[in-house]
């Protein structure tokens, strides 16, 4: 089966992330990498293809350095990559991102399965996978912690707080996977060397037939208005037990919706 994995190049969550002057993600001051949540999607795709046949194509959107995310996925074992890059894309929101991914997937050629992570480690909108599925008219099986492909269907398990759901969809479909799905492999030395010879295509808006008026910061439905650092933690509240400690504790827990 042929699988497309949508991946994102994000600022390293371990470093001090911030915004640029135009309130988009600052990429200059921090090292970027393949979003760790997307590694689970790449791993799942590799496992499915290794168990049968087909190929894994990774697609990403971002500036020049986003090619690193594609490279990492190729080093892990994906077969080919697509990098969508165009100055006009800067500042695009989820709506525009999903449009570009959907158009890219059409251009790659309808795969049997589209895999994504559960969200990106920077934006955390977690909406792009569903939007891509909607644009392509495909079923979306989101946030699964395990999945299985049987013939023409895919079955995933979604673990909630109180129940686990088993969801089945016919292929082709889009599936987003959580960080419980697998343990992503490390690129091996051979994988690192092999990645250099794998094909990566770079596509502009023109290649996708998308108009610049549909993407970018100025056309975004959602923009960052303002941001501030999280305030330092306040000192904890001390409850003195004067015979009513239990009641006070219960009140605290219920007012903060802990119980």
């Amino acid at each position: 089966m042929n699988i497309v994995v949508c991946v994102k190049y994000v600022p390293d969550a371990q470093s001090d992330r911030t915004f640029s002057d135009d309130k988009t993600t600052d990429r200059a001051g921090v090292d970027g990498l393949l979003s760790e949540l997307d590694e689970y999607a790449v791993e799942e795709a590799l496992k499915l293809v290794e168990a049968g046949e087909g190929e894994v194509t990774v697609v990403t959107i971002g500036p020049d350095e986003a090619a690193e995310a594609v490279k990492k996925a190729l080093q892990m074992g994906a077969d080919k990559g697509v990098h969508i890059s165009d100055d006009a894309i800067h500042g695009s929101d989820a709506v525009a991102t999903s449009l570009l991914l959907a158009e890219a997937i059409k251009k790659i050629g309808q795969p049997d399965l589209i895999l994504t992570g559960m969200g990106s480690t920077d934006g955390l909108m977690n909406i792009v996978p569903t939007m891509v599925a909607e644009r392509l008219g495909l079923p979306a099986v989101t946030l699964v912690s395990s999945l299985e492909v049987n013939g023409s269907t895919v079955t995933g398990r979604r673990d909630g707080d109180t129940a686990s759901e088993t969801i089945e969809a016919s292929l082709p479909a889009l599936v987003s996977v959580t960080d419980q799905t697998n343990e992503p492999r490390y690129p091996s030395f051979k994988g690192i060397m092999a990645a250099k010879k794998k094909p990566v295509e770079t596509w502009s808006l023109g290649d996708l037939g998308v108009d610049a008026g549909q993407v970018g910061l100025n056309n975004a439905w959602v923009q960052v208005e303002s941001f501030e650092a999280r305030p330092p933690r306040e000192q904890g509240q001390v409850v003195t037990d004067e015979g009513d400690g239990g009641t006070k504790l219960a009140e605290f827990l219920s007012t903060h919706k802990f119980v």
Binding site: K72, Q75, Y186, P187, S188, F189, K190, G191, I192, M193
Partner: protein
């Protein structure tokens, strides 16, 4: 809690070393560093404390990563440049010298001996499994009474018909009690001028015994063993056909030394990064320790030696990948980088003071490990003699 030093961007900027390392090698290093952060560093304090390490499991993991015999060609090996292999050793030893030793002994010693001097049958039998980490190798040269003078070894291989019969003892053998195969060097009685020959010995052979050496204070996250051979019978084709004389084992040692040139600086870097992070966060007399002139003098000296050591390692890597590197040149690297790495570790320890002796930080572990790295694969004194002979032409070994 295990404290891990993150990459220090100020040190990277000061050294500018990234500009000397190509993109694939940087990816290789960050892959190993990530693996070490996920799977090695969180466990190393306990492995070191308990003196127990899951060597065979680690070998399989390193096999998957392609690090075993990665600089050898064919037979499932990686075929990397010498520099890539050295940089892999650097990142492994930034985790622990014992871990790097496991990889060095497998790739540079046991696999190299078979790859360089083995028959086609020996290569096909062992190398693919060893590259995958499914078979673990060890290398028996040193004996209880013969370290720097291996030519005096007492282990004997006697001809008996077509067979060989092996008797003797080998000491300080990394992976010795967990290995599947031992490359053993022994004196033969076949009358040749170069009497020392190498043998490929499956460790399940009758008469083979590997006893783990406990009660050591260094390389505790590494298996060290004593091997003994009692009337161990080997078929005639167990001998490594392509070499006789000390040149065989010594050329393998030169490979391992090359890895150590890079590796020792990995341990040093981890100590320096730990000391830097500690000095920035620890307050003394109300101020960060890093703000004191005495601390800065220490940090500056450590950084200077680290950068010099890495430049030397990369220089030797370029030589080995280009015109060739001589054993004497490798000795320059081994002598300098082990000596300076342990000095950096000791200085880092003083910055961490009491915390420096805790396994919560990696410094005392590196410092103790480097005591072994300083003397194995040729003591500093042996390397001084090798360099001295290269300079003067006079052999001062005896």
């Amino acid at each position: 809690m295990v404290r891990m030093a993150s990459r220090n961007s100020a040190l990277d900027a000061l050294s500018g070393l990234d500009s000397l390392i190509d993109a694939d090698d940087r990816d290789l290093m960050s892959m190993i560093r990530k693996f070490a952060d996920d799977h090695l560093r969180p466990n190393l304090p306990e492995w070191f404390d308990q003196g127990v390490v899951p060597a065979r499991d680690l070998a399989r993991e390193f096999g998957k990563l392609g690090l075993l015999g990665m600089h050898l060609e064919g037979y499932g090996c990686g075929g990397s440049s010498a520099t890539s292999y050295g940089l892999a050793c650097h990142e492994l030893e930034a985790a622990d010298s014992g871990i790097r030793s496991l990889v060095s002994v497998q790739g540079s010693l046991a696999m190299t001996a078979i790859h360089k001097f083995g028959s086609e049958e020996q290569k096909t039998e062992w190398l693919p499994r060893m590259a995958a980490g499914e078979a673990l190798g060890c290398f028996g040269l040193t004996e209880p009474d013969f370290g720097s003078d291996p030519g005096g070894m007492r282990t004997r291989a006697k001809r008996d018909g077509d067979d060989w019969v092996l008797n003797g003892t080998k000491m300080w053998i990394t992976n010795g009690s967990v290995a599947d195969v031992a490359v053993v060097w022994a004196q033969t009685d076949d009358g040749g001028r170069d009497r020392i020959r190498g043998f490929v010995v499956p460790t399940d052979s009758k008469g083979f015994e590997g006893r783990e050496i406990k009660q050591k204070m260094s390389l505790r996250a590494s298996v060290t063993a004593e091997l003994s051979f009692t009337d161990l019978r080997l078929p005639g084709d167990a001998v490594l056909p392509e070499v006789s004389g000390l040149r065989g084992p010594l050329s393998c040692l030169a490979e391992a030394r090359f890895g150590i040139v890079f590796g020792a600086m990995g341990a040093a870097r981890d100590c320096l990064e730990t000391a830097l992070a500690y000095a920035e966060s620890r307050r003394v007399f109300g101020e960060p320790l890093a703000g004191y002139q005495l601390t800065q003098a220490k940090l500056a000296d450590m950084a200077v030696e680290y950068v010099k050591g890495m430049l030397l390692a990369l220089h030797l890597g370029r030589l080995k990948d280009g015109p060739g590197v001589s054993n004497e040149q490798v000795s320059v690297g081994k002598l300098n980088n082990c000596r300076e790495a342990i000095a950096i570790a000791r200085e880092a320890r003083t910055i961490l003071a009491a915390n420096g002796i805790s396994l919560e930080y990696p410094v005392i572990r590196h410092e103790n490990n480097l005591e072994s790295v300083l003397t194995y694969e040729g003591t500093s004194e042996v390397h001084q003699l090798i360099i001295g002979q290269a300079l003067t032409g006079a052999n001062a070994f005896r």
